[in-house]
Amino acid sequence: MMDFGFSISPSSTMNLDKVDLTLYDRLCSIEPDARKCMACGSCSATCTAGPWTGMSVRKVLLDIQRGKDKEAAAMLKGCMLCGKCTMVCPRGINTRHLILSLCRIYGEDAK
């Protein structure tokens, strides 16, 4: 292959046809409220860990909805389980419980 000094740039376009929703569906089966998120961001705004680690429950859910399971798992590591996000969620999602359920799923998969 010839070296032209540049190569075809990768595309950042998300192909939603190819999103794998297995993890999302598993999560929803044990945490049906996960579907309720309306991406308001109050959880992220109040997150104790967020400003230092990039943790955001909203983004974790979005990543899982877009099939980006690894990114979600990495983000979850920042969570300190303080429960503040649960206090502020206007849709009443038990986010702390949801995070623990997700960790359990990831834990099962790691076995």
């Binding site: 292959m1 010839m2 032209f4 000094g5 540049f6 190569s7 075809i8 740039s9």
Partner: protein
Amino acid sequence: MIYQGKQKIWSDYQKEIPDNHWFYVRSCIRQSFFPASERYFLNICRDLLGKDIYETEHHTTCGGIAYHSDTIPQETAMTIVARQFALMKEAGYKNLVTSCITSFGNYTEILETWREFPELEARIRENLWKACRREFDKPEYLAHASDLVYKFRHEIASKAKYNLVDHMTGEPLRVVEHIGCHYSKMFPHKGVGGAEYPCVLSGMVDSWGGQVIDYPERRHCCGFGFRQYLVKANRGYSIANTHKKFESMEPYHPDMIITNCPGCPYFLDRWQYVISEMEGKTYGRNGYGIPVFTYEEVAGLVLGFDPWDLGLQMHQVAVEPLLEKMGVPYNPKTKYLGLNGKEIMKPGLPTVLKCC
């Protein structure tokens, strides 16, 4: 796909194109990319259709390349364009036709800007007078040369020696049409058929017997994009756009691509070689590429001009498989002979892309 739906849109975007007496301005780059296209446009208009088309050796670049590469301010481009208008006035013409799509976009944008800001036009008049003591009139009609070929497409069809048809099977050729972004994306009403479904090229293809392919990335830019290509660090996304278009059109197995812009055919043609060297992938049949043409070249082929006189040996992607499909005779021995019969040198062969 509902063809009548497109016809309905086309009827909303019909532009008035006078049928004679044009002042022609050439492109900066087309004469080196597609050396015969402008000449054959003039030949077809003058000799075949009997039209009056005037050009002068005094005209210059419109400044479009520099403007779109952010190297000159728009006022400079405007003054350059004002000078072309002055040349047109001096020659006694009122209709301007441009060879280049970016020129067409540049002229259109300038005229529209002056319409909105007459004080700017007054300043440019002053600039021009100070710079070269010339005065100009704005053109009554502005067209791109492809508008004229579109207008005369039926006359060309009536004089056709070959059609865009597989001469063995009688099947229409599958043609991708690609419109330069600066043709109508900025001002949809200035283009034949508008900006979403322009019919300036598809109209030619229809009249000359081909079948237009509407593939998902049809509207996408060829990737040239001036700054994208001109700065080497950006070439990766220039070619990524072209790659995206080819990946999208590939399943339709196009026989050819017709274009109306200087940059698009160049990049759609040359990037096929680069993609083949980078990825080992080709998009035509049997390891060939998909040949890419200017509309003048296609008109020339349809009218029966010799492919080498039309400059098709200057293309990267071999045109011979298409010539054979159309039943256009060609002499492989004269491919690299110049007009005076001397060898013009043969290009080296790519490692992947099959060429003749």
